[in-house]
């Protein structure tokens, strides 16, 4: 999975946002803390299992719970074209 070049990540007014620079969408997508972490991990080239492993250790949460959340975020980002399967 890779990051689409359609979006640019910026930190503005204490928020992390993704800016769509290629399409007609003139808005921005705000990322919460978890989404931003997942975005950064995907950017580094990590796969979903690795991300689940890191986050479950970091927040001391059961892997099954983390896996559900991570997969939801990734699916949403795939739908929006932020991530691309490849």
């Amino acid at each position: 999975m890779i990051i689409s070049d359609k979006y640019v990540l910026k930190h503005v007014l204490d928020s992390d946002i993704l800016v769509d620079i290629k399409s007609n969408f003139n808005g921005v997508i705000k990322l919460n803390k978890t989404s931003k972490e997942i975005y950064e991990f995907i950017k580094e080239g990590k796969n979903i299992e690795e991300i689940v492993d890191i986050l479950s250790k970091k927040y001391d949460v059961d892997k099954s719970v983390v896996s559900k959340d991570v997969n939801e975020v990734v699916e949403e980002m795939l739908k929006k074209g932020i991530f691309i399967n490849g």
């Binding site: 503005v12 007609n24 003139n26």
Partner: protein, 369 residues
């Protein structure tokens, strides 16, 4: 509650001085005025910094960020597309990088001046699916599908050869003017807009703030003196010092603030009349608006540079164009024209006298002789 006009200047001062501010005003009115002044992002930035959370202002900042990132992407494309061409980025697109956050300056368009291959560049952009919105022989405005506007210029369009000659050798590999020449361009451009069109804006002073500590003052002052703008430059810097709370405002600074607000309210219908009619009767003013001096006509119709004898014909052409504009333009444009015609400043001696003094203090020479 403070007046909106006072608040907006206080906010800009707070931005420039990086000081805290307490704001007590109607935020809807503040948004409307900052929009008219093209300063919504900066006002939003100050509000956020001082913990005034307002969704409308926050959205405007995010929009600015969006536009600025799109502009950066377009600029990368331009650098590739125009790699064999002499061109320069001007105004906001060149100055934005000096701001605390560049998106605070960017205004949604890209100004490019092309030295020799204006039509080639125009056709390149059309092939890249840019749409032409307006076009004259000297400049055109094109827009891409993402809403980024490119203003393509054939010349500096500063309405005086002595100003344009200043920049004749400034095309370079970075495609931007040096800091000294950015500053000089800012001063000349501001002068042109005030003296010809009564366009009193606040943003040039913020640009000035970021540029003036970067320049070689001796070099810049020398060049501005050569083109007769040293007095104007001094007053621009004085007003900036007033905004920075380093100087107390005099009567002319207070007038300037008034003109800035007036310009924001009606896009200059009144201030244009005021600055161009300050030493004229009503009839003289209307005649000069209809029959501009040759110095201005030759920029509107470049053929007149070589064939001055065609001036009467082009007065007729211009008259028909004006009538067409009045009859078929948008409601906003019609309102501007009607406001200008009806402007009661043509009949107010006190306002005209004040403007005459103001023009003298600012070092602005009358263009309508």
């Amino acid at each position: 509650m403070d007046s909106i006009e006072t608040t907006i200047f206080d906010i800009i001062s707070a931005y420039l001085t990086n000081k805290e501010i307490s704001i007590d005003c109607d935020f809807k009115e503040l948004y409307n005025l900052s929009n008219k002044l093209n300063l919504t992002s900066i006002v939003a930035f100050v509000l956020n910094k001082n913990d005034y959370n307002n969704t409308v202002f926050e959205d405007s900042i995010l929009q600015s960020v969006n536009q600025y990132e799109r502009y950066l992407d377009v600029r990368k494309q331009m650098d590739v597309l125009l790699k064999d061409i002499d061109y320069l980025y001007l105004k906001g697109s060149a100055i934005a990088k000096y701001y605390i956050e560049p998106y605070l300056r960017y205004s949604g368009d890209l100004d490019i001046i092309v030295k020799d291959k204006f039509y080639d560049v125009f056709e390149m952009l059309i092939r890249k699916e840019y749409k032409c919105i307006t076009r004259t022989k000297q400049e055109c405005t094109l827009i891409n599908k993402n809403g980024i506007t490119i203003d393509l210029h054939r010349e500096f369009y500063l309405n005086d050869k002595k100003y344009e000659d200043v920049f004749i050798n400034e095309f370079n590999q970075t495609h931007e003017l040096s800091d000294d020449y950015q500053y000089i361009y800012l001063v000349i451009h501001t002068y042109k807009h005030i003296s010809l069109y009564g366009q009193f804006e606040l943003r040039p002073y913020i640009d000035l703030f970021y540029l003036r500590d970067r320049i070689n003052k001796n070099n810049v002052n020398g060049i501005l003196e050569n083109v007769g703008l040293e007095k104007f430059n001094i007053r621009l810097n004085h007003f900036l010092d007033v905004l920075l709370c380093k100087e107390k405002p005099d009567i002319y600074d207070k007038l300037l603030k008034k003109y800035i607000i007036m310009y924001a309210e009606d896009h200059g219908a009144k201030t244009r009349v005021l600055i161009n009619s300050s030493n004229k009767s009503k009839i003289e003013y209307y005649l000069l608006r209809l029959f501009q001096p040759y110095e201005l006509m030759k920029y509107e119709y470049p053929i007149l540079k070589k064939k001055k004898w065609l001036l009467p014909l082009y007065y007729v052409v211009r008259l028909f164009k004006l009538i067409h504009k009045v009859l078929f333009s948008s409601n906003g444009r019609k309102k501007y024209i009607i406001n200008e015609i009806n402007s009661n400043f043509l009949n107010k001696p006190v306002e005209k006298e004040l403007m005459q003094e103001f023009v003298e203090i600012m070092g602005i020479k009358s263009n309508n002789k």
